[in-house]
Symmetry: C2
Subunit: 215 residues, 2 copies
C-alpha cells in the first residue's frame, strides 16, 4: 500500500509493457525482491495490485504469471475499447486545453517522421492516452488503461509483423481525431476513435500467428 509497493509495481509493469516479460512467463517473488533490494512482502502486494490490473495472474501456492490471451479474448477487449474510449474521450475533451491539443499534434508529427516498432508503440500509446487524460472518472480511465496494458504485447507483435504498410491509414485517422478535438466535437472524435480501434481489431483478426494460433 505504499511507496515500496508502488515502486515495485511500476517496475514490473514497465517490464511487462516493455516486453521484458511476455505471456506465460513466471514471476518469482524472491527474484524480484532481490533484484529490487526489498523483501518479498511488498513484492507480494505489488503482484496483487497488478493482478487487479489484469497484468498478472495469481494462482494460490503456484505463483504469478503473465497471462496469455487468446485471439478471441483480444478481439473482445478491442470491442470493449470501441465502446468505452469514445466515452472516455467525451469526458476528457472539455478538461483539455489547447496546449494539450498542440502536444497531440507534436506527437503525431513525430509519429509521421517515422521510427522503430518500440518508438511507434510508445508514441501511439502516449497519443491516445493523452486524449483521455482529462477523464476524471477513476473507473473509466482505469478500465481504459487496463485494456491498453493487457493487450500491449499483442499490439507489439502485430506492429512488428504488419510493418509500416498501414501507417498512412493510421496517420489519417489520428489527424481526424485531432481535428475533431480542436473543433471540440466529441461526437465526431468518438466516431473516429471507435473506427480506428475497429479497423485495427479486424486487421489483427487476419494475423492469428500473433497468438500462436493456426491460420
Amino acid at each position: 500500500m505504499t511507496v515500496a509497493t508502488q515502486r515495485i509495481a511500476t517496475h514490473l509493469r514497465d517490464a511487462i509493457l516493455g516486453g521484458a516479460l511476455g505471456p506465460g512467463d513466471r514471476v518469482r517473488q524472491e527474484d524480484v525482491a532481490q533484484q529490487l533490494g526489498a523483501s518479498r512482502l511488498p513484492v507480494r502486494e505489488a503482484l496483487q495490485m497488478l493482478a487487479g490490473e489484469g497484468l498478472i495472474e495469481n494462482e494460490p501456492n503456484k505463483g504469478a504469471r503473465v497471462p496469455r490471451l487468446s485471439m478471441h479474448e483480444v478481439d473482445v477487449i478491442y470491442r470493449m475499447r470501441e465502446q468505452l474510449e469514445p466515452l472516455a474521450l467525451a469526458e476528457s475533451l472539455p478538461e483539455l486545453d489547447d496546449s494539450d491539443l498542440y502536444r497531440l499534434t507534436e506527437l503525431q508529427d513525430e509519429i509521421e517522421r517515422g521510427t522503430d516498432v518500440h518508438g511507434f508503440l510508445e508514441l501511439d500509446r502516449e497519443f491516445h492516452l493523452l486524449t483521455y487524460a482529462g477523464c476524471k472518472i477513476e473507473h473509466l480511465s482505469a478500465t481504459v488503461h487496463r485494456l491498453w496494458n493487457s493487450t500491449q504485447y499483442y499490439r507489439r507483435a502485430f506492429v512488428r509483423i504488419s510493418g509500416p504498410s498501414r501507417m498512412r491509414v493510421v496517420n489519417a485517422e489520428h489527424r481526424l481525431i485531432i481535428d475533431a478535438m480542436f473543433r471540440r466535437d466529441e461526437i465526431d472524435a468518438g466516431r473516429f476513435v471507435s473506427g480506428h480501434i475497429r479497423r485495427t481489431r479486424i486487421e489483427l483478426g487476419n494475423h492469428p500467428e500473433v497468438f500462436g494460433e493456426k491460420a
Copy 2:
C-alpha cells in the same frame, strides 16, 4: 494470494455489498484481522485485492476506506454498463443452456412475487449476473462485476427511495430480456439490457439526494 486472503476479501466484499460498510467508512487492518482470526498480513492483501476491484480506496500510510462516488461518477459508470453489458450478453448467451434460462424465469417470477429492498437487490443482481454467466472473457466479466459492485450502495439507496412504484416497468424489461434470450437473439436482448440500464440511469439522475448532493 491464498485461501486466507480470499476468505477475508469475500467477507469484506459481502460487508460492503450488503451495506454493513458504506461510502467513506474506514477499514482498519487490525479490526478485520482480529474479527476474522487472522494476522494483518492477509488482510492487507485482501484490501489490495479489493482496491483492484474498486471496492476499496487505499492511501499510503492512511489506510483503507470505502470510496464515495459523486452523482456524475455513477452516471458515467451506468453509461459504461450500457456499452459493455450487451457485449457480455452476446458472449454469454451461446454458452447458456435452456435450464439457465428457466432459472432466469424463476428469478423473475420471484421478483414479481414481491419482497423487501434487500431481497429485490439480491434477486435483481442474481438475475442480471446470471445472464452474463456464460461470458468466458475474464476482462469483460470482471469489468461488469466491478461496475455492479461499486454502485451497489447507490442502487440500494435508490430502490429504498423510489419504492415499488416503477416495478411494472422493470418487470416488463426483464421479461423482454428473457424472451429475447429464449429466441437466442442477442441483438434484441442487448438492446433491452442497454435500455434497461439507460432508463435506470436517467431515473437515478432525478434523485441527487441519494448522493448527498443538492437537488
